[in-house]
Amino acid sequence: METKLIVIAYCIYLPVALGLTYYVAKNLFKSGIVFMRDIFKGKEEIALATNKLFELGFYLLNIGFALVILKIDPFENTTQEIIELMSVKIGGFAIYLGIMMFFNLYLFFRGKKKSNEPRIRPFKDGDYIPNEF
């Protein structure tokens, strides 16, 4: 009975965590493409590619983290305790996802700001100059 409870808890946690990641990533990068178009100033292909690569990184980091923190260690195998533990775990993961989402949004806004500044500074001593220049 005890082992079964834990297995049920895992079977609930995994779809919830993966589904949450999918939902957040889908929504974040649906709006991300708009920022990317702004940042790359209409260069459609590279904007799409960057958006996709950001999405890939987001998925990899968050799914990896969700799988790594899966393990729970119940003290006494009661239903109540396992529900509490799972709830803490899912809630913690949701907060982590939110922080990652805002970090990504921060990157988008920073990129937008940076792309409006001219990327040029005066030439200094010690700058790397390739041979062909």
Partner: protein
């Protein structure tokens, strides 16, 4: 069939599928970056992209398969799920960290390149 065998039967296909999927995503969308980096030699983009993909797949699957040797003995079903998920998670997390690192390196290199080009235009170095 021991629990370890079941774990291996799940782990090995999962690793191979994940590696190849991620590799092909990077292959498709990284082409754009490579063609930005090799503006002067566009014929090099395809071969470089291909060899990067093959090298990445071989290294990653190799690492995952070698790591099977160091697994502990699995005793019951919850342990199976925990351990399998931990191993897969570590692998995916590693891939993610490498990916983010690569993207930041690409960003830094592209910034430097643009600054150099601008200096070249402005100062004629």
């Amino acid at each position: 069939m021991t629990y370890n065998t079941i774990a291996y039967l799940i782990f090995i296909p999962a690793v191979i599928v994940i590696t190849i999927k991620v590799g092909y995503q990077c292959f498709t969308y990284g082409k754009e970056y490579l063609s930005c980096a090799f503006v002067k030699e566009p014929h090099l983009v395809g071969p470089i992209n291909n060899s990067l993909l093959v090298g990445y797949i071989v290294l990653n699957t190799g690492y995952a398969l070698v790591s099977l040797k160091f697994w502990e003995t699995i005793t019951n079903l919850p342990h199976l799920i925990e351990y399998l998920s931990f191993q897969l998670g570590c692998l995916i997390l590693l891939l993610g960290v490498m990916h983010v690192f690569n993207m930041s390196v690409t960003y830094i290199i592209s910034k430097r390149k643009i600054i150099n080009q601008q200096n070249h235009i402005n100062y004629g170095n």
